[in-house]
């Protein structure tokens, strides 16, 4: 890539005024570095992944509202986690975390376990327990 071809598109980076470093060649074909504000294909790729996550969050919210799933699933998606990551944050086996997705089992959880989830999601126990879908 030539230095003058380093893309300067608008991106999620430029919104926060962050620029990234790119290696490119100068007019003599020698390598140098240049800053880039972003590149459209990248932004599209990232937005595609973010849309995917948002869809998962909306879906989880609906499931919680219907009473099919416990609020843990919603907060897990909201924090961009999957079962493996959540299990390692709360220090429980994955099958136990999965079990806690069931509303009937979630209601019976003691505060010690709930606190682990609350800490992982950076919220309080009552926010987790009394989560209501508006």
């Amino acid at each position: 890539m030539k230095k003058e071809e380093v893309p300067q598109d608008e991106s999620n980076l430029s919104k926060s005024n962050v620029k990234e470093l790119i290696y490119a060649t100068d007019e003599n074909g020698n390598y140098t570095t240049a800053l880039s504000t972003g590149w459209e294909p990248k932004t599209i790729a990232l937005n595609n992944s973010l849309d995917e996550i948002n869809e998962r969050i909306v879906f989880a919210k609906e499931e919680v509202a219907k009473g099919e799933m416990s609020p843990i699933t919603y907060f897990m998606e909201l924090n961009r986690m999957d079962i493996g990551i959540l299990a390692s944050y709360v220090g429980l086996w994955q099958w136990r975390v999965k079990r806690h997705f069931k509303p009937s089992i979630f209601r019976g959880l003691n505060d010690k376990i709930l606190q682990k989830y609350a800490t992982a999601f950076n919220i309080s126990i009552s926010e987790l327990k009394n989560f209501k879908v508006e």
């Binding site: 890539m1 999620n12 980076l13 919104k15 926060s16 962050v18 620029k19 990234e20 470093l21 790119i22 290696y23 490119a24 060649t25 074909g29 020698n30 390598y31 570095t33 800053l35 590149w39 459209e40 294909p41 990248k42 599209i44 790729a45 990232l46 595609n48 992944s49 973010l50 995917e52 924090n79 961009r80 986690m81 999957d82 493996g84 990551i85 390692s88 944050y89």
Partner: protein, 332 residues
């Protein structure tokens, strides 16, 4: 307290931290040089491992390997410590800062508050340098950022003890011994040989064969998983290839910069030609990203679009196979 550390922005976090820490210790070594000697160019596809609900793909080796190989090949001594206790980890870091040692840390990205929200995923192989501490904050030199930044004590503790794959477990590292005379030549040759071996490895999911493997999978994705999932998978490939830290084109441009530097040090004209060739290969990776992004942007449903970009990827694999064979010849 604050150490007199100089921040240089780099493309990739691990090379950047390595290069910045070594520069601080009097060894002037560029980011591409760190990347090349540490054999940072790699390709692996792990369909059975899912990251963010898509198959894992990586254009670099496991975190920590680049710096470790560099240290071995230049005979540097690097101290690496992991912790099981959070308070011990904080104590050890403070002790280092008191002794005027800027310290490299492996951290998780999710709680890095200075990153744009869109970039905060549970990715645990990020690296940064802590070069000072105030009553409320740690002073941070994050090599992918233009300027230095800071994190509160609690925030730093959180990112050091992020959980999930590659959990950093508070890992900190810093050079403790650097020999007086460093000979880059044998280290460069070892680094190049290692990269050629990796990229030409007779393993179906690694190197050139790995690229072909992905290409053939892409052809099947829309039929097997439907367009939506296929697009998500494709977007993940592009993200891993182009996201912050790659310097563009899945590290190909950094590697070309390394070959150019190496050709001067080794007095090998052939490497300069190969550097130009690698630049062209990097450009074809960029073209691939552009065409891939068109597919998932338009949500195009024709299967043919997937075949077309899969063939592009196959063409890249052929070019790289030729390239690494030539590179191997050029230094033997």
């Amino acid at each position: 307290m604050e150490t007199n550390f100089t921040h240089h922005q780099s493309a990739h976090c691990e090379n950047g931290v390595a290069s910045n820490l070594l520069k601080h210790n009097g060894l002037n070594i560029s980011e591409p040089m760190v990347f090349g000697i540490g054999s940072g160019l790699f390709f692996v596809y792990l369909p059975f491992l899912k990251v963010n609900y898509a198959p894992a793909i990586s254009y670099r080796p496991m975190p920590g390997i680049i710096f470790n190989r560099l240290a071995k090949r230049l005979k540097l001594k690097i101290k690496r410590i992991k912790f099981s206790s959070e308070s011990n980890a904080a104590k050890a870091l403070d002790e280092n800062l008191k002794n005027n040692i800027p310290t490299g840390l492996q951290v998780g990205v999710f709680n890095l508050t200075y990153f744009p929200d869109e970039y905060r995923f549970h990715f645990n192989a990020h690296n940064l340098v802590v070069y000072g501490k105030t009553n409320t904050h740690y002073l941070i030199s994050d090599p992918v950022m233009e300027n230095v930044t800071k994190l509160t004590h609690e925030e730093l503790n959180k990112v050091r003890f992020a959980k999930g794959a590659f959990a950093p477990r508070g890992q900190m590292y810093y050079p403790i011994q650097i020999p007086q005379n460093i000979d880059l030549k044998p280290a460069i040759i070892k680094g190049i040989k290692n990269t050629c071996r990796d990229m030409l490895a007779p393993v179906p999911i690694i190197g050139v064969r790995g690229i072909r493997f992905v290409a053939n999978r892409i052809k099947k994705w829309p039929i097997k998983h439907g367009t939506k999932k296929a697009n998500h998978y494709l977007a993940q490939i592009v993200r891993m290839q182009e996201e912050i830290g790659t310097g563009g084109g899945g590290f190909r441009f950094i590697y070309a910069a390394f070959l150019q530097e190496a050709s001067v040090i080794l007095g090998n004209e052939k490497l300069k030609e190969l550097s130009a060739e690698m630049t062209l290969i990097g450009d074809t990776w960029r073209d691939f990203a552009v065409n891939a992004s068109r597919i998932y942007k338009n949500r195009s449903t024709q299967d043919d679009a997937y075949n077309t970009i899969a063939n592009e990827l196959l063409a890249i694999a052929d070019k790289e196979e030729m390239f690494f064979k030539k590179l191997k010849m050029a230094i033997s």
